[in-house]
């Protein structure tokens, strides 16, 4: 059943009569009652920041399931964002089932997705941005990056032009980046210096010339808002040249650079900034630690880790100040709204909402809707082939009997499908698929279109590889990725999820150290031998000349597999056996 906007309003009217009202304060715990109208949000104070992040090129509304495993270890155990399902709802006092519980968790996902419908979409986001902005004169719209991709066919084929023009139409004021850099340094420069000139400022305090250390982008900007000087600092994803191909940004160096961050905050303050906002693509755990070691940031509008966190964490800084740390979810599903009441030299109060964008509840903006239709319905030439993007994307490849999703620390069902496709199509015993956090969700019974495949695989380094690896090497890879995910010092985390595996089974204890987390490695019930050789398929190698390149692209491998099978079901999800996480609220069985 699908709830139309009219039906929804009727439900709201009934709820209103029953005495629901917006919470008076956005303080922790008060954000969670299902509101009478989720989009009725009177402004408070005089400084307002609108924020979306990690939309991954999703111009149209999509389904996106939140994770059931998002483990935190050490001091991060049980601390937002490492809460899933009921634990998350309890922390924020959100009722279930309801609009908000569906937005923030995976609980009863299929039933509620069928009920509430798709999320996000730039035409719907545009309407919401206009509505929220109308109540907040001078508000800034910040884009946290991962806007141009990965995970979008139209983004890949137009070299991000689809999103660049959408950002301009939406009225983005300031952005920073991560996957943007996978279009190459030249393309980033071209867009920043031409399309964005005079409209959107691309900020990054932590991207410098690899030889000389000079900054590539402006580190911060100061905007006056209702008589208050507001600085916005940009922080791009610190590990872009490690998590993504370095050769695409060979002359640029990244890193967290927290010392330079402190200098940047100090410079902005010396420049007259009264409020300092950090637009960050660090990931939430890194942002929390940054707020603990850098003085003078009032709020961090965070992204990268795709965490839909309903309320900010109030983090104490090194000099005793408070920094509000937020994370804005992904795939265009949310619009973050932060209102600050700045008076007599300090912030007196704040209100924050992470508004879910439900496409059935918001009228699409006609201008943006027209633009999206037009940009998709055009011919492009990519890789020597000329085709209409909309036609290519709408091809129905197979029908899914099960729910297909990716997000979570370990294999999602769509990852399982990709691994199955890799093993069958390139004849491998084991498959590795990267732990990206993007990729949309397909409901049971829905046709899997080529667009769904591009949502999961669209990127600028799609080579499928086939290599022989020793058991020892396979273990080393798993240990290495696990340490990027579960290092007890967040500054050493890269913010992706665990590499997805096909064929191979293993156990993992996230609480241990590198070299000691992975165990019980087996293939078809037989232990993996360190000295034995195994055929491993993979994709998205960060090497400029990937070893074992099969010459095929990942979306072709997955699409061919689906065309061969017509219907797919994921009978068994190959999740590792978890150890050491009893009682951890970052894991829930489904």
């Amino acid at each position: 059943m699908n709830l139309s906007r009219r039906e929804f309003l009727q439900v709201l009217a009934a709820a209103g009569a029953a005495g629901f009202s917006l919470p008076a304060s956005a303080r922790l715990g008060a954000a969670g009652k299902n509101p009478s109208d989720p989009y009725e949000l009177p402004a408070r104070g005089n400084v307002s920041i609108l924020h979306f992040t990690d939309c991954h090129g999703q111009l149209l509304p999509v389904y996106f399931r939140e994770p059931h495993i998002n483990l935190g270890v050490a001091e991060m155990k049980g601390r937002p964002p490492h809460l899933v399902g009921k634990a998350l709802l309890e922390r924020y006092g959100i009722d279930h089932p309801g609009l908000l519980s569906h937005a923030y968790t995976y609980l009863d996902y299929v039933k509620l997705a069928e009920h509430y419908g798709r999320v996000g979409g730039f035409a719907h986001l545009a309407t919401l941005v206009k509505k929220v902005r109308d109540q907040r004169p001078g508000a800034l719209l910040l884009d946290g990056g991962d806007t141009w991709g990965g995970g979008s066919g139209t983004g890949l084929w137009t070299h991000a032009q689809d999103m660049v023009d959408a950002q301009l139409k939406l009225g983005v004021d300031i952005m920073t980046g991560h996957w943007e850099f996978t279009f190459g340094a030249d393309r980033v420069r071209e867009i920043v210096e031409n399309d964005f000139a005079g409209h959107i400022e691309f900020l990054a305090q932590n991207v410098v010339d690899v030889d000389w250390g000079d900054r590539i982008f402006k580190p911060y900007t100061i905007r006056e808002m209702n008589g208050v000087n507001v600085a916005v600092i940009g922080q791009s994803f610190p590990y872009t040249p490690i998590a993504n191909p370095r050769h695409m940004v060979a002359e640029w160096s990244f890193g967290i650079r927290h010392g330079e961050m402190q200098d940047t905050v100090n410079n902005a303050r010396a420049d007259g900034a009264e409020v300092v906002i950090l637009l960050s693509h660090n990931g939430m755990d890194v942002d929390i630690k940054l707020a603990q070691v850098v003085d003078g940031i009032d709020a961090i509008m965070g992204g990268h880790t795709h965490d839909a966190v309903p309320a900010p964490l109030e983090i104490k800084g090194p000099e005793g100040g408070t920094c509000l740390v937020t994370n804005g979810g992904s795939n265009g599903k949310f619009l973050g709204v932060l209102d600050l009441d700045f008076r007599d030299g300090r912030i007196r109060d704040y209100q924050y909402r992470l508004l879910p964008v439900f496409a059935n509840l918001i009228e699409p903006d006609p201008d943006m809707a027209r633009y999206i239709e037009q940009v998709r319905d055009q011919e492009v030439t990519y890789d020597g082939q000329t085709f209409n993007m909309k036609d290519a994307l709408s091809e129905e490849l197979a029908v899914s009997e099960d729910l297909l999703y990716r997000r979570g620390n370990f294999n999602g069902t769509f990852d399982q499908l990709i691994c199955d496709a890799l093993m069958e199509q390139v004849d491998a015993q084991i498959a590795f698929s990267p732990g990206f956090r993007w990729g949309t969700t397909v409901l049971p019974g829905m046709p899997i279109t080529f667009e769904h495949v591009m949502d999961q695989t669209g990127l600028t380094y799609p080579a499928v590889t086939r290599n022989e690896m020793s058991g020892a090497m396979i273990k080393e890879i798993l240990e290495d990725v696990a340490d990027n995910l579960y290092n007890k010092d967040p500054f050493y985390q890269q913010g992706g999820d665990m590499v997805r595996v096909g064929g191979l089974q293993y156990s993992i204890d996230p609480t241990r150290s590198i070299g000691e987390r992975i165990g019980d490695m087996e293939l078809n019930g037989k232990p993996i031998a360190p000295n034995e050789s195994y055929v491993v398929a993979g994709w998205a190698s960060v090497q400029e000349q990937p070893a074992g390149n099969t010459g095929r692209k990942i979306w072709d491998v997955v699409a061919d597999y689906l065309r061969d099978h017509e219907t797919v079901s994921i009978s068994e999800l190959n999740e590792p056996k978890l150890r050491g996480v009893e009682g951890n609220p970052g894991v829930s069985s489904v």
Binding site: A243, G255, Y492, Q494
Partner: protein, 154 residues
């Protein structure tokens, strides 16, 4: 162009302070390289320190090491070592996990600020150890730099 030469040039260019020091005659590279040969061939932190510092006994001191948490390129990891200690005559930078841990060592003339910036080569994740000799005493500090396989982020 020989890549090692390029790496070396990058290192010297980036090490602004050291470059200036060499230009001003405070450092004599030939002497440094010749006397430290044994140190660079040593297979352990302890042997390397005995060779270039005359001792491996050191206390933790007020030394700041700036380095990336994760190396973007293990072949050229930027490291900066600085200290407010006075009377510093020697600085050594070691990557404990390298087969030959000593990556570079510096002799500082009298009155030189204890600040060096360089690029080092790392084969694997390692503690980076900086050892300073000031007024005949050795002081040290260390910091972990990870070299990862890469990929799979975000």
């Amino acid at each position: 162009m020989n890549s090692k030469r390029r790496v070396f040039l990058k290192g010297t260019l980036a090490a602004g302070t050291v470059g200036v020091a060499v230009g001003a005659g405070l450092l004599t590279p030939s002497t440094v390289l010749a006397s430290a040969r044994e140190g660079f061939e040593a297979g352990s932190v302890s042997d390397a320190l005995k060779s270039v510092m005359g001792s491996d006994s050191h206390d933790s001191g007020d030394i700041t090491i700036s380095a990336p948490e994760l190396a973007e390129n293990g072949a050229v990891v930027p490291i900066t070592v600085e200290s407010s200690l006075t009377g510093v005559t020697d600085i050594a930078i070691l990557a404990a996990a390298n087969n030959n841990p000593l990556t570079s060592s510096y002799k500082l003339g009298e009155g030189t600020k204890a600040y060096v910036a360089t690029r080092i080569k790392m084969g694997d994740s390692s503690d980076i150890v900086a050892v300073l000799k000031a007024n005949g005493q050795l002081y040290s500090s260390s910091r972990e730099v990870k070299v990862t396989i890469g990929g799979c982020g975000g």
